[in-house]
Structures are given as C-alpha cells and as structure tokens.
C-alpha cells in the first residue's frame, strides 16, 4: 500500500501561499517559465511562417547544399536543447532550494524516505 500522503488542508496551505518565501518561489518559477514559453513558441511560429511564406529566403544557399531552411531547422533543435539545459540549471539553483526549504519548514521531507520505505 502507498502510505497516506501528508495531508495539506486549505487553511495551512493558504498560510504558506501568503508567506514571503512562497511568493518568492512562485515569482522565480513564473518569471522564468512564462516569458521563455512565449519566446520559444513565437520563435517556432516564426520558423513555421517563414517556411510557408518566405520560400526565397529559406531556399538561399549557405554553404554547399545547405540552405537557410536547414540551418534554421537545426537551430530549432539547438535552441530546444539550450532552453532545456538553461531551465535545468535555473531550477537547480533558484527553484529546488526554495521549494525544499518550504517543505522542511513545514516539518516534512516529502518524497524519498516515504516512497522508498514501502
């Protein structure tokens, strides 16, 4: 059996939600996730629109048989890898420490021991 999760009641969580630590955590998360999401979706849509509506530009040769379309396509791969790595670093430094600080202040180390102990 999965042991019963630590229950969080609305009143307790409301207190946490109003705390300064939690507000900072939420700000760190949202200030990264929201603008970066908007950014990469726009960057992807730009690429899709260029593919549809700017064939001359996309067909221009860069080197050998490699054209702008291929370079931009490969850049989508690169930016995807880069954003993923950037977020991993950011989350390690800015999100995980404050999330676990809040968990510990609440008197519970939530994950590993409980799940592993089964």
């Amino acid at each position: 059996m999965e042991s019963p999760p630590i229950t969080t009641t609305p009143s307790e969580t409301q207190l946490i939600e109003e705390s300064e630590e939690f507000r900072t955590l939420r700000r760190s998360f949202r200030n990264f996730a929201f603008p970066v999401t908007i950014g990469f979706v726009l960057w992807y849509l730009l690429y899709v629109l260029l593919s549809g509506y700017a064939p001359a530009l996309m067909g221009a040769k860069v080197v050998g048989h490699i054209n702008v379309a291929l370079v931009l396509g490969l850049m989508q791969f690169l930016t995807t890898f880069a954003i993923a790595a950037w977020y991993a670093r950011y989350a390690d430094r800015r999100i995980d420490p404050s999330a676990s600080a809040i968990r510990e202040a609440r008197g519970a180390v939530v994950h590993a021991p409980r799940e592993a102990a089964e």
Partner: protein, 536 residues
C-alpha cells in the same frame, strides 16, 4: 511493392524469429513485473520507483511511434525538407511539457490527468469530461498505430490480402492487453525502455552507414538526395508538400500549432510523470527525453535523405505510396541491396524494430485509457469514490481488455484511414481539449468547474467536428468517403481554429460561472504543485 515483396520471402523467417524473441522477452518482463504489482500505485504508476533516466527512455519509447520512425523517414524521402518540419514541431513541443506541465502534474496528481484537472473543481463533471477526452485521444492514437501495423506487416512480410492484415491487428491487440493487464505500468514501462533502446540502436546503425557512404559530409548527402529526387534544389526547400496553395500553407500552420501544443496534453505521456518519485525526477525524465528524442529526429534526417538518395523516390513509392517503407527499404539497401544476405538481415532487423515500436506504443495508450476509465469514470464518477483500490485495479484490467476489443474492432473497419491524419487528429484534440484546461487549472486562480468543463467539451467537439467536415473525411480523392461531399472546412488539421476555441471556452465558461472559484483550493493546488508538499 515489388522490391520489398520479392525479397520479403527471403527474410520473412528471420524477421518472424527476431520479432518472436522480442515478444517472448517482453512477455517475460511483463510477468515478472506483474508479480511485483501489488497495489494501485504499482499498477497505475509503476510504484513511482523509476529513475529519471529510465523514465526518460520510457517517454521516448512512448513518443517515438511508428508514425515517427516510418512516417517521418518516408515523408523526408518523398517530400524532402517538408518531412523534416514534422520532427521540429514534435521536438519543440517538449519544452511546453518541461516548463509548464511535468513538475506541477507530478506534484499534484496521483494516477491520471483528471486528478490534476479535477483537483480544485467539482469532481464528477470534470472527471467525466477529462475521462472522455482521455479515452477519445487515446483511441484515435491507438487506431493510427494498429492500422499502421496491419499495412506494415503486409508489406514487410510480403503477405498480401486482408486476412493477414486482420490477424496482425488482432494479434497486436491481444498482446497489448496482456502487457497492460498483467504487467501494469511497471511492465509497460520496461517494454517501452527495451523498445526505445532497440529503436535508437537500429536508427544509429543506419545513420552511421548512410553517412559513411557520403564521407560524413551532410552537404554531399543532401546533394545526392536532391539529384535522385528529380526535383533538384526544391527538394531541400520548404514547399513541396505544404507550399502549393494558400490553403495548404494555412494547413501547415494549423498542423504546426497542434504539434507544438498537443504533446503536453497527451494523456499517455502525462501519466508517465507519475512513475518517478519526485518532481525533480520528472524534470530529469523530460530532459533525458528531449535529448533522446532530439537525437532520434536528427537521425531521421539522415535516414530520410539517405533513402531518397540510395533507394530513390520511385522505388519507395512503388512499395508504399505514402513512403512508410522507406526506412526498411533503406536498411535493405545499406545491407548490400535486394537479394543479398546482408540486405535481408538488416531489413529483418529494422522490420522487427518497427513491430516492437508499434507494440510498445499501443501498450502505453491502452494503459493510459484504461486507467482513466477505472480511476476517473468508474471509481470517482459512477461509484463516487466509494470503491476499494483493489476493485479499481480489477476494473482497470477489464477496461484494458474492453478498450483492446474496441480498438481491434474499430481498426478492422478503419483500415482505409490514413494513419498520419489520425495521429495529427489526436494531437489536435489533445491541444484543444486537454492543454487549455490543464494550464488554466494550474495557473489561473479564477478558473472554475464550468470553465473546465466548457474548455474540454468545446475543444473536443470543435476539433472532432471540424475533422468530420474536412477533406480528410469527404469531398477529396484521398478522403475516407471519396464519393460523398459534405466538406466545408478547408483544412485537414483543425488546430488553428479548435485550439483557440478550447482556450476561449475555458475563459468564457469561467467568466459566466455562477459559482466563484474557491481561493483556498487554489492555494492548496498551487502550494502542492510548486513545493511538492503532500505529493503522492
């Protein structure tokens, strides 16, 4: 069909043997996993004991379907650059999952997508809506895979006729039910891991062989592909498939939108985040998945252009008009060509990998939909939560059998449907019905039950209805009903319209709600989703 069929008989025995080994090995794993499956958390979430890396492999296994492996390689081989456009959408989509969905979902849900959607809402209406949309998305996706499996077997084994296709569909259906009912999430996850490793190894081998032929010079490979295509430089530029008319350009935009927003709303992908112990492990699994899937799609570039250059579009089209056999044909060519032992061996290996791919993906889909049926519709809606976990798991196993039966029957009738269109439709429904509701639930304090129910149903009905009135179903040469014409929606992919409809309906439903959102419940969801407090 000739090229493949003529040598198909040479390698049929070998392909069947390799495939038999895969089936036996995975069934062995499944039985082993079944013995360790004791409670609901084991069955639905693999005991939440997988590591980030293992789950990353399993996610890749779930995601790299036959449509990716065979479909994209074929599309690149025939349409050049336009085939590559698919892979980019499929990959970039993972950033939505990474940044907005994976960690909050892991922290606040338990077994299904509906756990998160219904967290702060009235349970029954939201679970009903989310359960229905989970099952609809999964069935469309399942149909695509099974229909694909049927035609693939006919082609690769050189057996023609409807009987062989039907038996393949029945066998695939029976196996996927066994994997799920016996092995649960633990068994299914290991099947995905084995399949992902096989697929990556097979693709990497072919990529190296292709590149070696061109002295590892991408430009030379592209030049050879452009020459062999007969379309010269246009083959390397966007537009061969989607650039013909104003409508097809819009269709491409619509597809692009559905691809990039659909992934993070696919229920069989979302449940994978429950198989790891923490949100951090969920993040790591997406990071691994992005690396593995990205690497795989880069390799399909070599496969597709390699098939164009070495096999040639004429031979590919002769074997399968949609290009679905380009990758196996390339394998045969790389092994030494038709009629050689090397060619037969490599063809057999790649064919077996393709079967493994289909089997693993259908198992993942069956698990996600039967879990949603048992956990959301049966336990929480029909029995209003008054049901033991044991009974719930029991129902889930029967639901797997039921969904397997439905999928088999539908696939037998739907074998004329285009597999790629079905997959794109599944992505469009996921992006229109599931993603808006998920994002609003997690990040919009005022979002209400009425808003959630509206966005799921509006996204679901608008995307399905627009497809019914699109050229996919009627009014065109390649339609499901080519002789009827009730088509009025010009695009094949509904995303451009139905995704905004889903988002808009959630907003309108919320604004017009009579009941306000409960700020205390939102505080609970927000604290849990960001900190992991109280996570299961």
């Amino acid at each position: 069909m000739n090229l493949i069929a003529s040598s198909a008989t040479d390698h049929r025995g070998l392909t069947m043997t390799l495939f038999g080994v895969f089936v036996l090995a995975t069934l062995g794993i499944t039985i082993w996993a079944g013995r360790q499956t004791k409670d609901a958390a084991d069955f639905y979430a693999g005991g939440r004991a997988f590591s980030g890396f293992q789950n990353g492999l399993a996610i890749s296994g779930d995601y790299m379907s036959a449509a990716s492996f065979l479909g994209i390689a074929g599309a690149i081989a025939l349409f050049g650059y336009d085939g590559f456009l698919y892979s980019i959408g499929f990959l970039v989509a993972w950033l939505v999952a990474l940044l907005l969905v994976a960690e909050p979902l892991r922290n606040s849900g338990r077994y299904t997508m509906a756990d998160v959607l219904a967290f702060r809402m009235r349970q029954r209406p939201v679970r009903t809506a989310a359960g229905i949309s989970t099952i609809v998305v999964s069935i469309f996706y399942l149909l695509a895979q099974m229909v694909g499996a049927g035609s693939l077997v006919a082609l690769l084994l050189g057996v023609s006729g409807d009987a062989a296709k039907r038996w393949t569909i029945v066998a695939v259906g029976a196996l996927m039910v066994l994997y799920v009912a016996i092995g649960g999430m633990k068994g299914t996850t290991w099947v995905q891991i084995v399949k992902a490793v096989l697929l990556i190894a097979g693709t990497a081998l072919m990529t190296v062989l292709v590149l070696a032929k061109y002295h590892f010079n991408l430009s030379t490979l592209l030049g050879a592909a452009a020459d062999a295509s007969g379309k010269a430089n246009a083959f390397l530029e966007p537009g061969l498939k989607y650039g013909v008319t104003g409508t097809s350009k819009l269709d491409f935009l619509s597809l692009g939108l559905a691809l990039v927003l659909g992934t993070a709303g696919l229920p069989h992908i979302l449940v994978r985040f429950y198989t790891v112990p923490t949100a951090k492990a969920a993040r790591k699994s997406v990071l691994w998945a992005i690396g593995i899937i990205g690497g795989f799609y880069l390799m399909t570039l070599a496969l597709g252009f390699g098939a164009a250059a070495l096999v040639g579009p004429k031979a590919i089209k002769a074997a399968n008009a949609a290009g679905n056999t380009a990758a196996p044909q390339l394998a045969e060519q790389l092994g030494g060509g038709p009629g050689t032992t090397g060619g037969a061996v490599l063809l057999a290996v790649i064919s077996a990998v393709a079967f493994a791919t289909i089997l693993a993906v259908v198992a993942g889909l069956t698990l996600a939909s039967s879990a949603s049926f048992a956990h959301d519709l049966y336990a929480n809606v029909i029995r209003r939560g008054k049901v033991s976990e044991r009974e719930e798991v029991h129902v889930a196993k029967w639901a797997a059998a039921g969904i397997g039966a439905v999928a088999i029957v539908l696939s037998l009738f739907a074998d004329k449907l285009n597999a790629a269109a079905l997959v794109a439709l599944a992505f469009a429904v996921a992006a229109s019905a599931n993603l808006p509701t998920l994002l609003y639930s997690l990040f919009w304090k005022r979002f209400t039950t009425t808003g959630a129910v509206s966005s799921v149903y509006a996204g679901l009905t608008s995307s399905v209805a627009l497809v019914i009135f699109s050229p996919v179903v009627s009014g065109g040469k390649n339609s499901l009903f080519p002789h009827s014409d009730f088509q009025w929606f010009p695009l094949e992919n509904p995303g451009l319209v139905s995704i905004p409809v889903g988002f808009l309906a959630g907003w309108v439903g919320t604004v017009l709600s009579r009941r306000q959102a409960d700020p205390a419940k939102y505080a609970e969801l927000e604290v849990r989703s960001l900190t992991g407090l109280g996570a299961h």
